[in-house]
């Protein structure tokens, strides 16, 4: 491919394609564009859309009179006619919203989302209660299957993390307690913290990451693939069919997982008590049961129920409100996990305040 400027005529010859255009573009910068009046393409034997775009750029970039194509063979002219961008009108750019418009939109969205969330919560609770007494619209064994997924499959990871948590709590306090000869009080610390706070919260955070994300992604995928619409058209309530079993399974499993977490966490503390603080098993458990009250257990387990419900509702909310395709599913899942963990911590703080009063 070659390019020469002769008597105000730019003569191009050879192939004007995506392979030659980058080099021609560089050469063009060295030429005085304002002097080009005519373009001769008679010797161009092949042209593609990149070549036509190059010619368009050449004609548009001239600050004075736009050069004209004087000579070209028929096939080149046909290609120029098909691929020229000069005849396409420029589309008007999207208008960006102003500062106040954005604030207004955010407020309206917040109100809409809050109302939607409240309606969804009431619907989920209603259909979950209905599902306990009327299982007609549920697949057989769906609660058991959900209990296995949400509960049984999480036992391993919850036990391991609770054991480590028990060990950490006991080790952190042991060094201080030892200085005052108060070794036995490690049992009090572990008992109160695991039963009232760490057990329910740790379990809820793990369940939010495991099951909350699974709920959000499952529902979001169904929404994107129009499976939810298909259920609606078949006159099947998606909340009753998909969410209610998960809600009820979570209600059953979460307190059980919290109990497992507390027991394993206490065992973690016991290991530190035996091997680091020279306590006996009997002394550790006698102290532990003397300090624990029924109220502590009720506080821990009742919290866990609220955590369970919030995780399901948030997962369902983000799942049903997914927009976009596969990327939207990913975003919905991430948002649901972040929102669930945030909600669990805020709820925990509220419960702490309520029980203090």
């Amino acid at each position: 491919m070659s390019m020469n400027l002769k008597d105000k005529t730019l003569i191009l010859s050879g192939e004007l394609t995506r392979f030659s255009v980058p080099q021609l573009f560089k050469e063009l910068k060295k030429l005085p564009k304002s002097e080009i009046r005519e373009i001769d393409l008679d010797n161009v034997n092949k042209i593609d859309s990149a070549g036509v775009a190059f010619l368009d750029e050449l004609m548009q970039s001239s600050k004075t009179l736009s050069p004209e194509i004087t000579r070209a063979n028929e096939s080149v002219l046909k290609a120029i006619n098909t691929f020229s961008s000069l005849k396409i009108p420029n589309s008007s750019p999207r208008q960006e919203p102003g500062f106040f418009e954005r604030i207004g939109t955010a407020l309206i969205n917040f109100k809409t989302e809050t109302v939607q969330g409240l309606f969804l919560t009431s619907d989920i609770i209603f259909w979950s209660v209905v599902a306990v007494f009327n299982r007609k619209s549920q697949k057989k064994g769906v609660i058991t299957q959900q209990c296995l997924l949400i509960g049984a499959d999480a036992v391993g990871i919850i036990s391991l993390l609770s054991l480590i948590l028990g060990l950490i709590l006991a080790l952190q306090s042991a060094a201080q307690l030892r200085q005052f000869g108060a070794n036995i009080f490690v049992a009090d610390l572990i008992a109160i913290s695991m039963v009232r706070e760490m057990g329910p919260m740790m379990t809820a955070i793990i369940v939010a990451g495991r099951s909350g994300s699974a709920i959000a992604s499952e529902i979001a995928t169904m929404q994107v693939a129009e499976e939810i619409d298909a259920l609606k058209v078949m006159a099947i309530n998606p909340l009753r069919y998909i969410v209610a079993p998960k809600f009820n399974a979570m209600t059953i499993c979460m307190p059980l997982l919290v109990i497992i977490s507390i027991v394993v966490g206490v065992i973690g503390g016991l290991l530190v008590g035996i091997f680091y603080l020279d306590l006996t098993i009997m002394a550790y458990f006698t102290e532990l049961f003397s300090v624990l009250t029924t109220k502590d257990l009720i506080v821990g387990l009742s919290k866990s129920l609220f955590f369970a419900w919030v995780i399901v509702i948030i997962g369902a909310y983000y799942g049903f409100n997914v927009t976009g395709g596969s990327e939207g599913v990913g975003k919905a899942t991430t948002r649901s996990v972040v929102a669930s963990i945030f909600a669990v911590i805020v709820l925990d703080a509220i419960f702490s305040l309520i029980y203090m009063l």
Partner: protein, 246 residues
Amino acid sequence: MKKPIIEVKNLIAKYDETLVLDNIDVDIYPGEVTIILGGSGCGKTTLIKNILRLYQPIQGSIKIFGKETMGLSQESLEPVLKNIGMLFQNGALLNSISVFDNIAIPLEQHTKLPAQIIEKIIKVKLHLVQLEKATNLLPSELSGGMKKRAALARSIALDPQILFCDEPSAGLDPITSVKLDELILKLKEQLNMTIVVVTHELASIHRIADKIIFLEKGKKLFHGSLAEAKKSNIPEIVDFFQSGKF
């Protein structure tokens, strides 16, 4: 005598243990529109995907631009693929980026064209598929037909020598479908593009077909011109042209 641009010989392909392509021989010539026909599940899409090596055939020979592609690694296959465009059945646009960025991918990855030129090419390609207003939209904001047109714009971004279209008219309104056929003819005539189309639309076949390949249960029943196909006595082909659609 023209040499075929795609030569398939004794191609055998399986899904697990099920035979889906049984000893297929196909020659596709440059500058022609070849239509692959056949009932659902007869192996039309599988044949295209085997030619493009998206699936691995069990045995046979596939030559594209005279180069044997069987046994080539993905890296060695890339120079061949750069001259081929593919319009997938559901568009296969990348959902996380705009229509403009989708079409820019092959231009930015495979050429050294400056940004102004790339922008102009994208503008023209979107104009050709009548999607100028969708430039900045995300694929999730497009209808099914618009997605397909955007995907077609992406597949012709590099003016490939060969274009494969898997059911391009499906989901499109009749007017857009006619315009799409006109575009296919334009690409054939002006860029001498070789186009392979899987379709069931009889009207579209009449508008664009040079050659017909008819598959049935993984076997090639017929390969010839549209006129020859219409005169054929093979019952499946007669049924097709009489019923209008599969």
